[in-house]
């Protein structure tokens, strides 16, 4: 029931066509089996940037295409469907939004063109938004000295810069840090969905004044905006995971025979599949509302983005659990792709906040 404009339909169809050819699920499987350090294909990322995907949230004055969050969501959903490995969310959405709002247009332009990958260090704790930011930057001469640690920084491996939120005397600030710099220790690890992430430690890292791209209210706003856009687009990515897992399962139900008939004939499975379908409808609707509210600068955008992510988490989790279960024994095998969807969903659910994280925000907002 979603109404798309002609431009939106075009973006979606182009993304689907391109990804189907260049980055299907088999591409992720190959990257995993090769033990690729980056976890994504840099050449392919360049092609995506060439199509404007990394500049969707960046204005034309900084080399972006300024198509907005709705368009980014359409691309993300197609990526989710194919488990496409790319730093699109980390660099093209989170960092791009933060750089744009902080007015760091030189780096925004590099992100948009694909010349640079910028990661965003959103977390310090075992879960998203589970505690305060403790990383600190002390003023020193013309610059700062950074101390602290960040966790679970997606695509930090191979990133040219990392945006690091840290506390200063003037409140929150965002710093653009080169992870190769002295004093930065990177502990890279693979995640269950075969992507890379890293924990970063900062020990007396010397930063010049220009490394601070936003401070005080400006930093708060840029970070909030990056997280808001990031979680709504991440929700679209998860919705793609849910849709594809459920469609593959429906196809399997129609093909697999037991008791002399296709298992699609069993009402116990039909009703669960239909329930999942309704959950996907609701999810799709609230994600679309969140993305549109972000583009419109609507006051509801923060709440909707949180509900969108929370709902997408719940639905994707249901979708992949049902998918594995309804496939029976074969759903447990690595040879079948279904398990890869389950793994991707688990990581994406943690990324930028699980359902409890956002529900907690809703409760606070409601005064409970």
């Amino acid at each position: 029931m979603q109404i798309f404009t002609e431009e939106q339909t075009m973006v979606r169809d182009m993304a689907a066509g391109f990804l189907e050819e260049k980055a299907p699920v088999s591409a992720l499987r190959r990257l995993r089996d090769e033990g690729a350090v980056l976890g994504y294909d840099k050449g392919l990322m360049g092609e995506m940037a060439g199509m404007g995907w990394f500049g969707m949230l960046i204005g034309e004055e900084a080399g972006g295409v300024d198509m907005g969050a709705v368009a980014a969501g359409l691309v993300a959903e197609e990526m989710g469907r194919r488990l496409t490995a790319s730093p699109f969310l980390s660099s093209g959405v989170l960092a791009a939004t933060a750089l744009r709002d902080a007015g760091a247009l030189d780096w925004a332009a590099k992100v948009a063109s694909g010349a640079a990958v910028v990661a965003f260090a959103a977390d310090e704790h075992g879960k998203h938004e589970a505690g305060p930011i403790t990383t600190r930057a002390e003023a020193s001469g013309n610059g700062f000295v950074l101390n602290g640690a960040k966790r679970f920084v997606s695509d930090a491996v191979g990133a040219d810069r990392v945006i690091v939120p840290a506390m200063t005397e003037e409140g929150l600030a965002l710093f653009l840090v080169d992870p190769a710099q002295d004093g930065v220790t990177t502990r890279a690890f693979a995640t269950v969905d075969s992507r890379n992430a890293a924990d970063l430690a900062f020990e007396d890292v010397q930063l010049d004044g220009a490394a601070r791209i936003a401070s005080g209210e400006g930093a708060e706003a840029a970070m909030a905006s990056a997280l808001r856009t990031g979680r709504a687009v991440a929700a679209a990515d998860l919705c793609g995971v849910a849709k594809e897992a459920s469609e593959r399962t429906l196809a399997y139900l129609k093909e697999r025979k037991q008791f002399g008939i296709t298992i699609a004939s069993f009402q116990a499975l039909q009703h669960r599949a239909a329930d999942l379908y309704t959950q996907i409808q609701t999810t799709e609707a609230v994600i679309a509302a969140a993305l549109a509210a972000i583009d419109a600068g609507d006051a509801e955008a923060e709440r909707l983005s949180r509900v969108a992510k929370a709902k997408a988490n719940k639905t994707a989790s249901l979708a992949v659990r049902e998918a594995v279960q309804m496939h029976g024994g074969i759903g447990m095998t690595d040879a079948l792709d279904i398990g890869l969807f389950m793994k991707k969903a688990r990581v994406s659910i943690e990324y930028l906040g699980d359902s409890a994280c956002h529900a907690e925000w809703l409760l606070r907002e409601a005064g409970l």
Binding site: M1, Q2, I3, L250, L253, K254, T262, A264, S265, F266, Q267, L269, Q270, H271, A273, A274, D275, Y277, T278, Q281, T282, T283, A285, V286, A288, A289, A290, R303, L304, V307, A308, A310, K311, K314, S355, A356, H358, A359, E360, L362, L363, A366, G367, L368
Partner: protein, 392 residues
């Protein structure tokens, strides 16, 4: 100024001037204006408000003017609703005629039928009830056995309906009747309209678990129904019946319908349970359930908005009404369960004989019918798995 801004400004001014203050208060099930021959207005304001809105066709804003409607476009209708909401204006009239029969007549009625029946609905003159379910035909609705025997210029209708909401207060009934006994199940049904005051019609109220008795057993003993009171062709009533159901389901699934009005879980819990020293709801497990519920509630609101936008753009909701009905009613049941939980001892203090429809316990009990009336949740899932997912 654009046309739409003009329309908004003039609508706002008209509502300001014409909507009585009393009609700008929140309303419960007991405050609904249903209209009909025997309707006793609860206040002068209620009557005035209905009359004023009906003159403009705004009881049914999007119906054509020729049939008593307002002739508004989808966008104008949205503006009207927004402006009504802005001043908390109550709907001037609600009825099965507006929600169900009207859309079906617009689609399947003859020109004469539209000109006759629709304006009566729009003005709230005739109140309709729905004669679908029978003791032997609930989910299996096409199994209806009420029979209509051809007697030349009329059908002689005999049989029994059940769960007929407001049958004892309605003026007319739209009724599924088997007129072709030898045809296959789905091809033997006709869609008949007749006066509840006809000889041979009787009703017997049934009490609900919530204490109210809004529905009835309805008996037909050789009721004469003139043949021009059939909608569509003989034996082709099933498609009309199904089309009407999609509108009924859409209505039941919409939380903004008066049926579902109840206090928010947030306010109910804060008031009943209170907050702890850190400002959190004092019951952490209930708090967690409310959190989970809020996510689904807000997401469903976006889904309803989307469906409205879809319909405004001139599209049919069709089979997706099953999605809205299933999701909306299951959500409402959760809402009422949570309200009962947060209400604790206070909420279970309830006097069956003197139950009020806006009490927590009444709303909770009534909500259980939401996933039954208009087709059960299981039937919704079956419809979706067949019609959308093509399973089985």
């Amino acid at each position: 100024m654009s046309d739409m801004q003009d329309f908004r400004a003039s609508t706002r001014a008209w509502l300001e001037e014409n909507c009585p203050q009393e009609m700008r208060q929140p309303m419960g099930e007991a405050d609904v204006c249903w209209g009909g021959r025997n309707w006793v207005f609860q206040s002068d304001a209620q009557q005035l408000w209905l009359e004023r809105m009906a003159v403009r066709g705004w009881t049914v804003p999007t119906w054509p003017e020729a049939y008593g409607g307002g002739g508004l476009t989808g966008d104008e209708d949205r503006v009207l609703r927004e402006e009504m909401q802005r001043i908390h204006a109550r709907p001037p009239l609600q009825s099965f005629g507006i929600w169900m029969l009207g859309p079906a007549l617009l689609q399947f009625g003859s020109e004469e039928q539209k000109r006759h029946y629709l304006p009566q609905i729009a003005r709230g003159e005739i109140r309709w009830c729905q004669g679908y379910s029978e003791p032997g035909a609930g989910s299996d609705l096409a199994g209806v056995q009420t029979k209509g025997v051809d007697r030349g210029d009329y059908f002689e209708v005999s049989g029994q309906k059940i769960w007929t909401s407001y049958a004892d207060q309605a003026d007319w009934i739209f009724c599924l009747v088997r007129t072709e006994p030898d045809a296959p199940k789905h091809k033997g049904i006709s869609f008949l309209l007749f006066d509840m005051a006809s000889e041979g019609v009787s009703t017997k109220p049934i009490k609900l678990i919530s204490g109210a008795s809004p529905f009835c057993e309805t008996f037909f003993d050789a009721v004469k129904v003139p043949k021009e009171q059939i909608v569509g062709e003989r034996g082709k009533g099933w498609s009309i019946a199904k089309y009407l159901l999609t509108h009924e389901r859409e209505m039941i699934g919409s939380t903004d319908s008066a049926l579902f009005k109840s206090e928010s879980v947030v306010d109910a819990a804060r008031e009943a349970v209170g907050l702890d020293a850190t400002g959190r709801l004092a019951d952490p497990l209930l708090r967690a359930r409310i959190a989970d519920f809020l996510v689904d509630e807000i997401a469903f609101k976006a889904e309803l908005d989307r469906a409205k936008a879809w319909a405004r753009a001139g599209n049919q909701i069709g089979v997706e009404s099953a999605t809205l009905k299933y999701t909306g009613t299951e959500l409402n049941k959760r809402r009422q369960e949570i309200n009962m939980e947060s209400g604790g001892f206070d909420a279970v203090e309830w006097d069956f004989a003197n139950a009020q429809s806006d009490e927590k316990a009444s709303l909770w009990l009534r909500s259980k019918g939401n996933s039954i009336e208009g087709g059960t949740s299981e039937v919704m899932l079956s419809i979706l798995s067949k019609a959308v997912l093509e399973l089985g």
